[in-house]
Assembly symmetry: C2
Homo-oligomer: 238 residues x 2
Amino acid sequence: MGAMAIPDLARLAAALADPVRAAMVGALFGGVALPQQELARRGGVAPSTASEHLARLVDVGLLVRTTAGRRRYYRLVGPEVAEALERLGTLAPPAPRPRTLSQNDRLRVMTLARTCYDHLAGVLGVALADVLVADGTFARADDAFVETNATALRLERLGIDVATLRTTRRPLVRGCLDWTERRPHLAGAVGAALADTFLARGWVRRATGHRGLHVTEAGTTALAREFGIDLRPSTSSG
Amino acid sequence: MGAMAIPDLARLAAALADPVRAAMVGALFGGVALPQQELARRGGVAPSTASEHLARLVDVGLLVRTTAGRRRYYRLVGPEVAEALERLGTLAPPAPRPRTLSQNDRLRVMTLARTCYDHLAGVLGVALADVLVADGTFARADDAFVETNATALRLERLGIDVATLRTTRRPLVRGCLDWTERRPHLAGAVGAALADTFLARGWVRRATGHRGLHVTEAGTTALAREFGIDLRPSTSSG
DNA sequence: ACGACCGTTCGGCCTGCGCCGAACGATCCG
DNA sequence: CGGATCGTTCGGCGCAGGCCGAACGGTCGT
């Protein structure tokens, strides 16, 4: 009778169903670990309440807790969580409802460029993936990306050593379906390495308080020069 | 403050958070449309209650409702829903807790062979995908599958006409991460066509009441002959 | 046209759970 | 060692929402 269909889908969904918990998970999408206090602030609840929420998220297997001194840090259990949730996000809203101005501003930043766990997402992430497919660095297969015989060489020009990346257990490249663009961006070891590179070269800067990314002036010219990417909202929105 | 991270992830998750609603969605994973009455029965609630649940699932964009006479049929809005949810399921339980005997039986059938929306999943689905990759019908890319120049010819031997499948808007082949096996099986137009073929040839039969599939005797020999697949639980579990 | 059936809406009950403040343990600092 | 932080557990409050039965409209059968 119980129809267990997806094992404890309900249990997992219930853990994400609360706005406060969703906000906490969202805050951790950047892949960083945050202390309880900070997550309480992000969720807008008292520490005691936050403690309960976080315990539940750990219990259901979405977060892990590490203790450092008197602080307890929480982070996503791994990239798969962010990727599965990102994909879940593509199901929801075909047409976003109007929002307040400040929310709108943030939303614009988020759709333009943001991190998804540890790689680049948003318009920038998708555009970058498109370019790297167009120039043969990767081939596209459905919503995934495949290595080509040009991969190592091309990435080396960006200062990314594929051989090193292979030493990790992580898959070299993965596709991750973008919540805003509904098309895949680059995840996996290469995705993370690209994000690191962009940050290290000062092309993008982390926003404070959320996982949006600001494209710097240097970044704008570099993206145009290196990849022919122009992020100005010519055709998009209004 | 609100930190909307994933747009209304919380809203979507809340829709799935109730066991009754999760059971309803699970019942529709097979891709079929079921009348309200039947879904009420599956959920174990009164028709009035079911009506509220279903309205909510429609509202959040997971289900669509079609009216036929005095019946109202509900079905998943599309394969993406089943695939995203299937993937979500891979996050949850690394080690399933012990269950009652009848539940165990059903679970065994489900892990062995079942449908995911309209294609094959479970051990069978994953094994089939592996074989078709091994024999060059498809290439694998991460968790996705790619067409090769042998695809059309190989599938023709199974009575599947790729040219026809291309006429639909649907992608020819997709990877869908399997909840039990944590590895991809074949979805997309080809995935659906394979499931149709297996059913049409009597290799598998739909179980009643859930989306499990029974492999028939004819199916067992055919699978061994055509694909070298042996589903007996020799190496699996313990 | 009348009765049987399917489904939704409405009103009312009640549990679950999200919220907080208080109290307590644990860790760091001077 | 004492005070300040950080975090958890506990008790109690209040509301959202899941549940049902009753009533009603729409559709099919005869």
